[in-house]
Symmetry: C2
Subunit: 185 residues, 2 copies
DNA sequence: CAGATCATGTAACTGGTTACATGATTCA
DNA sequence: TGAATCATGTAACCAGTTACATGATCTG
Protein backbone atom coordinates (compact mmCIF):
# COMPACT_ATOMS: atom_id res chain seq x y z
CA UNK A 1 0.00 0.00 0.00
CA UNK A 2 0.92 3.61 -0.43
CA UNK A 3 -1.13 5.45 2.15
CA UNK A 4 1.59 4.97 4.75
CA UNK A 5 4.17 6.49 2.39
CA UNK A 6 1.83 9.29 1.45
CA UNK A 7 1.48 10.17 5.12
CA UNK A 8 5.16 9.65 5.79
CA UNK A 9 5.95 12.06 2.98
CA UNK A 10 3.69 14.76 4.36
CA UNK A 11 5.13 14.30 7.84
CA UNK A 12 8.67 14.54 6.47
CA UNK A 13 7.69 17.99 5.29
CA UNK A 14 5.58 19.34 8.15
CA UNK A 15 4.13 18.09 11.42
CA UNK A 16 0.49 17.13 11.09
CA UNK A 17 -2.28 15.77 13.27
CA UNK A 18 -4.66 13.11 12.03
CA UNK A 19 -7.31 15.74 11.60
CA UNK A 20 -4.96 17.89 9.52
CA UNK A 21 -4.12 14.95 7.30
CA UNK A 22 -7.76 14.17 6.81
CA UNK A 23 -8.27 17.65 5.44
CA UNK A 24 -5.26 17.43 3.16
CA UNK A 25 -6.65 14.23 1.68
CA UNK A 26 -10.04 15.78 1.24
CA UNK A 27 -8.81 18.92 -0.42
CA UNK A 28 -5.99 17.73 -2.61
CA UNK A 29 -6.77 15.73 -5.74
CA UNK A 30 -3.27 14.27 -5.70
CA UNK A 31 -4.14 12.40 -2.55
CA UNK A 32 -6.96 10.59 -4.21
CA UNK A 33 -8.18 8.78 -1.11
CA UNK A 34 -11.52 9.66 0.34
CA UNK A 35 -10.43 11.59 3.40
CA UNK A 36 -11.51 8.78 5.64
CA UNK A 37 -10.64 8.69 9.29
CA UNK A 38 -10.36 5.05 9.82
CA UNK A 39 -7.31 4.40 7.74
CA UNK A 40 -5.54 7.63 8.62
CA UNK A 41 -5.74 7.17 12.36
CA UNK A 42 -4.79 3.54 12.12
CA UNK A 43 -1.78 4.15 9.89
CA UNK A 44 -0.59 6.87 12.26
CA UNK A 45 -0.69 4.34 15.10
CA UNK A 46 1.24 1.86 12.95
CA UNK A 47 3.85 4.40 11.91
CA UNK A 48 4.31 5.43 15.52
CA UNK A 49 4.57 1.84 16.69
CA UNK A 50 7.29 1.25 14.10
CA UNK A 51 9.27 4.28 15.24
CA UNK A 52 8.88 6.09 11.92
CA UNK A 53 7.11 9.07 13.49
CA UNK A 54 6.96 10.72 16.89
CA UNK A 55 3.75 11.67 18.60
CA UNK A 56 3.29 14.85 20.62
CA UNK A 57 0.11 15.20 22.62
CA UNK A 58 -1.09 18.78 22.94
CA UNK A 59 -3.93 19.07 25.47
CA UNK A 60 -6.69 21.57 24.76
CA UNK A 61 -9.47 22.91 26.93
CA UNK A 62 -12.88 21.49 26.10
CA UNK A 63 -11.52 19.70 23.02
CA UNK A 64 -9.85 16.34 22.50
CA UNK A 65 -6.08 16.66 22.67
CA UNK A 66 -4.34 17.26 19.33
CA UNK A 67 -1.84 14.53 18.54
CA UNK A 68 0.84 15.96 16.36
CA UNK A 69 3.11 13.62 14.43
CA UNK A 70 6.59 14.27 13.05
CA UNK A 71 8.81 11.97 11.03
CA UNK A 72 11.94 10.50 12.61
CA UNK A 73 15.31 9.77 10.95
CA UNK A 74 14.12 6.19 10.47
CA UNK A 75 11.01 7.52 8.78
CA UNK A 76 13.10 9.72 6.54
CA UNK A 77 15.35 6.79 5.65
CA UNK A 78 12.40 4.59 4.74
CA UNK A 79 10.86 7.39 2.68
CA UNK A 80 14.05 7.89 0.68
CA UNK A 81 14.19 4.19 0.09
CA UNK A 82 10.61 4.16 -1.18
CA UNK A 83 11.16 7.14 -3.44
CA UNK A 84 13.99 5.25 -5.14
CA UNK A 85 11.73 2.27 -5.72
CA UNK A 86 10.82 1.30 -9.28
CA UNK A 87 7.77 3.32 -10.28
CA UNK A 88 4.40 1.72 -9.80
CA UNK A 89 2.18 1.61 -12.85
CA UNK A 90 -0.75 4.00 -12.75
CA UNK A 91 -4.04 2.20 -12.43
CA UNK A 92 -7.26 3.35 -13.97
CA UNK A 93 -10.72 2.22 -13.11
CA UNK A 94 -12.69 3.41 -16.06
CA UNK A 95 -16.21 2.04 -15.68
CA UNK A 96 -17.52 4.42 -18.31
CA UNK A 97 -15.50 2.68 -21.00
CA UNK A 98 -17.17 -0.61 -20.17
CA UNK A 99 -20.50 1.12 -20.23
CA UNK A 100 -19.74 2.44 -23.71
CA UNK A 101 -18.82 -1.02 -24.89
CA UNK A 102 -22.41 -2.11 -24.52
CA UNK A 103 -23.97 1.18 -25.56
CA UNK A 104 -24.84 0.17 -29.12
CA UNK A 105 -28.30 -0.64 -27.84
CA UNK A 106 -28.90 3.07 -27.26
CA UNK A 107 -30.37 5.49 -29.76
CA UNK A 108 -27.98 8.03 -31.35
CA UNK A 109 -29.49 10.75 -29.18
CA UNK A 110 -29.15 8.79 -25.97
CA UNK A 111 -25.57 7.87 -26.80
CA UNK A 112 -24.56 11.41 -27.65
CA UNK A 113 -26.19 12.72 -24.49
CA UNK A 114 -24.11 10.27 -22.48
CA UNK A 115 -20.89 11.32 -24.15
CA UNK A 116 -21.75 14.99 -23.90
CA UNK A 117 -22.29 14.65 -20.19
CA UNK A 118 -19.01 12.82 -19.81
CA UNK A 119 -17.17 15.44 -21.82
CA UNK A 120 -18.61 18.23 -19.71
CA UNK A 121 -17.74 16.54 -16.44
CA UNK A 122 -14.19 15.99 -17.56
CA UNK A 123 -13.99 19.57 -18.74
CA UNK A 124 -15.10 20.76 -15.33
CA UNK A 125 -12.55 18.57 -13.59
CA UNK A 126 -9.83 19.86 -15.88
CA UNK A 127 -10.68 23.41 -14.93
CA UNK A 128 -10.63 22.56 -11.24
CA UNK A 129 -7.35 20.71 -11.58
CA UNK A 130 -5.79 23.62 -13.43
CA UNK A 131 -6.92 26.06 -10.77
CA UNK A 132 -5.67 23.89 -7.97
CA UNK A 133 -2.31 23.16 -9.53
CA UNK A 134 -1.46 26.86 -9.44
CA UNK A 135 -2.44 27.65 -5.87
CA UNK A 136 -2.18 24.68 -3.59
CA UNK A 137 -1.03 25.07 0.00
CA UNK A 138 -0.58 21.33 0.41
CA UNK A 139 2.56 21.08 -1.64
CA UNK A 140 6.06 22.00 -0.54
CA UNK A 141 8.40 24.07 -2.67
CA UNK A 142 11.54 24.29 -0.61
CA UNK A 143 13.68 24.33 -3.73
CA UNK A 144 13.07 25.30 -7.37
CA UNK A 145 13.33 21.64 -8.23
CA UNK A 146 10.72 20.61 -5.69
CA UNK A 147 8.37 23.32 -6.94
CA UNK A 148 8.90 22.04 -10.48
CA UNK A 149 8.08 18.50 -9.40
CA UNK A 150 4.82 19.47 -7.77
CA UNK A 151 4.00 21.65 -10.73
CA UNK A 152 4.45 18.59 -12.93
CA UNK A 153 2.19 16.52 -10.69
CA UNK A 154 -0.56 19.10 -11.08
CA UNK A 155 -0.01 19.23 -14.83
CA UNK A 156 -0.32 15.46 -15.01
CA UNK A 157 -3.81 15.64 -13.58
CA UNK A 158 -4.80 18.46 -15.90
CA UNK A 159 -3.52 16.57 -18.94
CA UNK A 160 -5.34 13.46 -17.82
CA UNK A 161 -8.69 15.23 -17.79
CA UNK A 162 -8.04 17.23 -20.95
CA UNK A 163 -7.14 14.01 -22.68
CA UNK A 164 -10.53 12.59 -21.81
CA UNK A 165 -12.26 15.74 -23.02
CA UNK A 166 -10.71 15.67 -26.47
CA UNK A 167 -11.20 11.92 -26.75
CA UNK A 168 -14.91 12.27 -25.99
CA UNK A 169 -15.18 15.15 -28.41
CA UNK A 170 -13.55 13.16 -31.21
CA UNK A 171 -15.74 10.17 -30.61
CA UNK A 172 -18.84 12.30 -30.74
CA UNK A 173 -17.93 13.81 -34.10
CA UNK A 174 -17.11 10.36 -35.44
CA UNK A 175 -20.46 9.04 -34.32
CA UNK A 176 -22.21 12.01 -35.82
CA UNK A 177 -20.60 11.62 -39.23
CA UNK A 178 -21.53 7.95 -39.12
CA UNK A 179 -25.11 8.97 -38.43
CA UNK A 180 -25.34 11.42 -41.31
CA UNK A 181 -23.70 8.85 -43.61
CA UNK A 182 -26.43 6.37 -42.71
CA UNK A 183 -29.43 8.65 -43.01
CA UNK A 184 -28.04 10.53 -45.99
CA UNK A 185 -28.16 7.47 -48.24
CA UNK B 1 -19.61 -2.13 -8.23
CA UNK B 2 -19.17 -2.75 -11.90
CA UNK B 3 -17.88 -6.30 -12.17
CA UNK B 4 -21.40 -7.65 -12.32
CA UNK B 5 -22.25 -5.32 -15.20
CA UNK B 6 -19.00 -6.13 -16.94
CA UNK B 7 -19.90 -9.82 -16.82
CA UNK B 8 -23.51 -9.15 -17.73
CA UNK B 9 -22.33 -7.23 -20.77
CA UNK B 10 -20.12 -10.06 -21.96
CA UNK B 11 -22.90 -12.59 -21.42
CA UNK B 12 -25.34 -10.40 -23.35
CA UNK B 13 -22.98 -10.82 -26.27
CA UNK B 14 -21.91 -14.45 -26.01
CA UNK B 15 -22.33 -17.36 -23.63
CA UNK B 16 -19.32 -17.80 -21.36
CA UNK B 17 -18.23 -20.10 -18.58
CA UNK B 18 -16.48 -18.77 -15.48
CA UNK B 19 -13.22 -20.08 -16.83
CA UNK B 20 -13.75 -18.28 -20.13
CA UNK B 21 -14.48 -15.03 -18.34
CA UNK B 22 -11.37 -15.41 -16.26
CA UNK B 23 -9.32 -15.53 -19.43
CA UNK B 24 -11.08 -12.54 -20.93
CA UNK B 25 -10.25 -10.51 -17.83
CA UNK B 26 -6.67 -11.68 -17.93
CA UNK B 27 -6.12 -10.91 -21.57
CA UNK B 28 -8.03 -7.72 -22.11
CA UNK B 29 -6.72 -4.46 -20.65
CA UNK B 30 -10.20 -2.98 -20.80
CA UNK B 31 -11.30 -5.39 -18.13
CA UNK B 32 -8.74 -4.10 -15.69
CA UNK B 33 -9.49 -6.60 -12.96
CA UNK B 34 -6.93 -9.20 -12.08
CA UNK B 35 -8.53 -12.25 -13.60
CA UNK B 36 -9.32 -13.60 -10.19
CA UNK B 37 -11.53 -16.59 -9.68
CA UNK B 38 -13.09 -15.72 -6.45
CA UNK B 39 -15.08 -12.73 -7.56
CA UNK B 40 -16.00 -14.10 -10.96
CA UNK B 41 -17.46 -17.34 -9.70
CA UNK B 42 -19.30 -15.61 -6.91
CA UNK B 43 -20.81 -12.95 -9.16
CA UNK B 44 -21.98 -15.64 -11.54
CA UNK B 45 -23.79 -17.33 -8.68
CA UNK B 46 -25.36 -14.00 -7.71
CA UNK B 47 -26.42 -13.18 -11.25
CA UNK B 48 -27.95 -16.60 -11.60
CA UNK B 49 -29.73 -16.35 -8.28
CA UNK B 50 -31.23 -13.03 -9.39
CA UNK B 51 -32.47 -14.51 -12.65
CA UNK B 52 -30.27 -12.30 -14.79
CA UNK B 53 -28.47 -15.23 -16.40
CA UNK B 54 -29.20 -18.88 -17.10
CA UNK B 55 -26.82 -21.67 -16.28
CA UNK B 56 -26.29 -24.69 -18.50
CA UNK B 57 -24.22 -27.53 -17.09
CA UNK B 58 -22.23 -29.39 -19.69
CA UNK B 59 -20.70 -32.59 -18.26
CA UNK B 60 -17.28 -33.62 -19.49
CA UNK B 61 -15.35 -36.83 -19.07
CA UNK B 62 -12.49 -36.61 -16.60
CA UNK B 63 -12.97 -32.85 -16.21
CA UNK B 64 -15.23 -30.74 -14.02
CA UNK B 65 -18.44 -29.89 -15.83
CA UNK B 66 -18.43 -26.59 -17.77
CA UNK B 67 -21.11 -24.25 -16.55
CA UNK B 68 -22.11 -21.99 -19.38
CA UNK B 69 -24.01 -18.80 -18.63
CA UNK B 70 -26.28 -16.77 -20.90
CA UNK B 71 -28.09 -13.53 -20.17
CA UNK B 72 -31.85 -13.50 -19.83
CA UNK B 73 -34.33 -10.79 -20.89
CA UNK B 74 -34.18 -9.48 -17.32
CA UNK B 75 -30.40 -9.34 -17.59
CA UNK B 76 -30.66 -7.49 -20.88
CA UNK B 77 -33.12 -5.02 -19.36
CA UNK B 78 -30.86 -4.33 -16.38
CA UNK B 79 -27.88 -3.92 -18.67
CA UNK B 80 -29.67 -1.37 -20.82
CA UNK B 81 -30.67 0.48 -17.70
CA UNK B 82 -27.07 0.56 -16.49
CA UNK B 83 -25.75 1.71 -19.84
CA UNK B 84 -28.06 4.72 -19.64
CA UNK B 85 -26.77 5.58 -16.20
CA UNK B 86 -24.85 8.82 -15.70
CA UNK B 87 -21.19 8.12 -16.48
CA UNK B 88 -18.96 7.22 -13.58
CA UNK B 89 -15.85 9.33 -13.20
CA UNK B 90 -12.64 7.54 -14.11
CA UNK B 91 -10.46 6.88 -11.12
CA UNK B 92 -6.69 6.90 -11.17
CA UNK B 93 -4.40 5.47 -8.56
CA UNK B 94 -1.14 7.11 -9.41
CA UNK B 95 1.33 6.17 -6.72
CA UNK B 96 4.24 7.32 -8.84
CA UNK B 97 3.05 10.93 -8.66
CA UNK B 98 3.19 10.80 -4.88
CA UNK B 99 6.62 9.26 -5.10
CA UNK B 100 7.74 12.14 -7.31
CA UNK B 101 6.40 14.64 -4.82
CA UNK B 102 9.05 13.60 -2.34
CA UNK B 103 11.79 12.94 -4.84
CA UNK B 104 13.67 16.19 -4.33
CA UNK B 105 15.93 14.30 -1.95
CA UNK B 106 17.30 12.34 -4.91
CA UNK B 107 20.31 13.29 -6.98
CA UNK B 108 19.63 14.56 -10.53
CA UNK B 109 20.87 11.24 -11.91
CA UNK B 110 18.69 9.16 -9.62
CA UNK B 111 15.66 11.28 -10.43
CA UNK B 112 16.19 11.15 -14.16
CA UNK B 113 16.70 7.39 -14.03
CA UNK B 114 13.37 7.06 -12.26
CA UNK B 115 11.58 9.15 -14.84
CA UNK B 116 13.31 7.42 -17.71
CA UNK B 117 12.17 4.07 -16.43
CA UNK B 118 8.64 5.34 -16.04
CA UNK B 119 8.65 6.78 -19.53
CA UNK B 120 9.86 3.52 -21.00
CA UNK B 121 7.30 1.45 -19.18
CA UNK B 122 4.50 3.69 -20.36
CA UNK B 123 5.89 3.60 -23.88
CA UNK B 124 5.84 -0.19 -23.78
CA UNK B 125 2.27 -0.23 -22.52
CA UNK B 126 1.24 2.21 -25.22
CA UNK B 127 2.65 -0.11 -27.86
CA UNK B 128 0.86 -3.10 -26.36
CA UNK B 129 -2.39 -1.18 -26.11
CA UNK B 130 -2.13 -0.06 -29.70
CA UNK B 131 -1.50 -3.59 -30.89
CA UNK B 132 -4.35 -4.97 -28.88
CA UNK B 133 -6.85 -2.33 -29.92
CA UNK B 134 -6.51 -3.42 -33.55
CA UNK B 135 -6.86 -7.17 -33.12
CA UNK B 136 -8.89 -8.10 -30.10
CA UNK B 137 -11.20 -11.11 -30.13
CA UNK B 138 -12.86 -10.04 -26.90
CA UNK B 139 -14.84 -7.20 -28.40
CA UNK B 140 -18.03 -7.46 -30.41
CA UNK B 141 -18.58 -5.59 -33.64
CA UNK B 142 -22.07 -6.55 -34.68
CA UNK B 143 -22.64 -3.15 -36.24
CA UNK B 144 -20.37 -0.42 -37.61
CA UNK B 145 -21.34 1.67 -34.64
CA UNK B 146 -20.41 -1.02 -32.14
CA UNK B 147 -17.06 -1.53 -33.86
CA UNK B 148 -16.48 2.22 -33.66
CA UNK B 149 -17.26 2.24 -29.96
CA UNK B 150 -14.81 -0.53 -29.17
CA UNK B 151 -12.26 1.13 -31.37
CA UNK B 152 -12.68 4.26 -29.27
CA UNK B 153 -12.24 2.30 -26.07
CA UNK B 154 -8.94 0.96 -27.33
CA UNK B 155 -7.87 4.42 -28.41
CA UNK B 156 -8.65 5.77 -24.99
CA UNK B 157 -6.15 3.39 -23.45
CA UNK B 158 -3.52 4.20 -26.03
CA UNK B 159 -3.97 7.93 -25.48
CA UNK B 160 -3.76 7.45 -21.74
CA UNK B 161 -0.36 5.81 -21.97
CA UNK B 162 0.95 8.15 -24.65
CA UNK B 163 -0.09 11.06 -22.52
CA UNK B 164 2.07 9.75 -19.68
CA UNK B 165 4.99 9.23 -22.03
CA UNK B 166 5.01 12.78 -23.31
CA UNK B 167 4.43 14.16 -19.83
CA UNK B 168 7.43 12.26 -18.48
CA UNK B 169 9.52 13.36 -21.43
CA UNK B 170 8.63 17.01 -20.89
CA UNK B 171 9.39 16.83 -17.22
CA UNK B 172 12.78 15.31 -17.90
CA UNK B 173 13.78 18.06 -20.28
CA UNK B 174 12.59 20.67 -17.83
CA UNK B 175 14.64 19.11 -15.07
CA UNK B 176 17.65 18.92 -17.33
CA UNK B 177 17.51 22.55 -18.32
CA UNK B 178 17.19 23.44 -14.66
CA UNK B 179 20.32 21.40 -13.98
CA UNK B 180 22.40 23.06 -16.66
CA UNK B 181 21.16 26.46 -15.51
CA UNK B 182 22.41 25.69 -12.02
CA UNK B 183 25.79 24.24 -12.91
CA UNK B 184 26.35 26.62 -15.79
CA UNK B 185 26.52 29.67 -13.51
C1' DC C 1 9.37 -35.17 -15.17
C1' DA C 2 7.97 -30.46 -14.77
C1' DG C 3 4.85 -27.25 -16.05
C1' DA C 4 0.92 -25.57 -18.67
C1' DT C 5 -4.19 -26.04 -19.79
C1' DC C 6 -8.87 -27.19 -18.60
C1' DA C 7 -12.37 -26.28 -15.02
C1' DT C 8 -14.29 -25.86 -10.80
C1' DG C 9 -14.29 -23.71 -6.34
C1' DT C 10 -12.93 -21.93 -1.10
C1' DA C 11 -10.16 -19.47 2.71
C1' DA C 12 -7.79 -15.83 4.44
C1' DC C 13 -6.50 -11.42 4.06
C1' DT C 14 -5.79 -6.39 2.77
C1' DG C 15 -7.48 -2.02 1.41
C1' DG C 16 -10.89 1.11 1.43
C1' DT C 17 -15.67 3.14 2.35
C1' DT C 18 -19.65 4.52 5.06
C1' DA C 19 -21.53 5.42 8.98
C1' DC C 20 -21.58 5.97 13.88
C1' DA C 21 -20.20 8.15 18.51
C1' DT C 22 -18.67 12.06 21.59
C1' DG C 23 -18.88 16.90 22.92
C1' DA C 24 -17.70 21.79 23.06
C1' DT C 25 -17.83 26.09 20.11
C1' DT C 26 -18.94 29.20 16.56
C1' DC C 27 -21.82 31.05 12.82
C1' DA C 28 -26.06 32.02 10.05
C1' DT D 1 -32.12 26.07 16.15
C1' DG D 2 -29.54 23.73 12.94
C1' DA D 3 -25.24 23.19 10.73
C1' DA D 4 -20.28 23.59 10.50
C1' DT D 5 -15.62 23.24 12.67
C1' DC D 6 -12.40 21.11 15.83
C1' DA D 7 -10.59 16.54 17.15
C1' DT D 8 -10.54 12.08 18.45
C1' DG D 9 -11.76 7.34 17.47
C1' DT D 10 -14.60 2.51 16.43
C1' DA D 11 -17.82 -0.90 13.92
C1' DA D 12 -19.45 -2.93 10.07
C1' DC D 13 -19.10 -3.71 5.60
C1' DC D 14 -17.73 -4.18 0.57
C1' DA D 15 -14.29 -4.91 -3.00
C1' DG D 16 -10.46 -7.07 -4.48
C1' DT D 17 -6.09 -9.99 -4.16
C1' DT D 18 -3.33 -14.05 -3.15
C1' DA D 19 -3.03 -18.41 -2.33
C1' DC D 20 -4.82 -22.93 -1.81
C1' DA D 21 -7.19 -27.41 -3.37
C1' DT D 22 -8.56 -31.06 -6.81
C1' DG D 23 -7.38 -33.97 -10.73
C1' DA D 24 -6.99 -35.31 -15.57
C1' DT D 25 -4.58 -34.40 -19.87
C1' DC D 26 -1.29 -32.42 -22.93
C1' DT D 27 3.39 -30.36 -24.19
C1' DG D 28 8.47 -29.60 -23.99
Amino acid sequence: MTLDYAILGLLSWQPFSGYDLKKVFEESPVYYWSGNNNQIYRTLLDLHRDGLVTKEVIPQENLPARKVYRSTPQGEALLRQWVLTIPELPQRKHAFLLQLGWADRLSPTELDALLEQYQEEMQALAVIARARSTNNPHQPSRTTREALLWQAIGTNWVLFYENEVSWAHDLRTQLQSLETANTGT
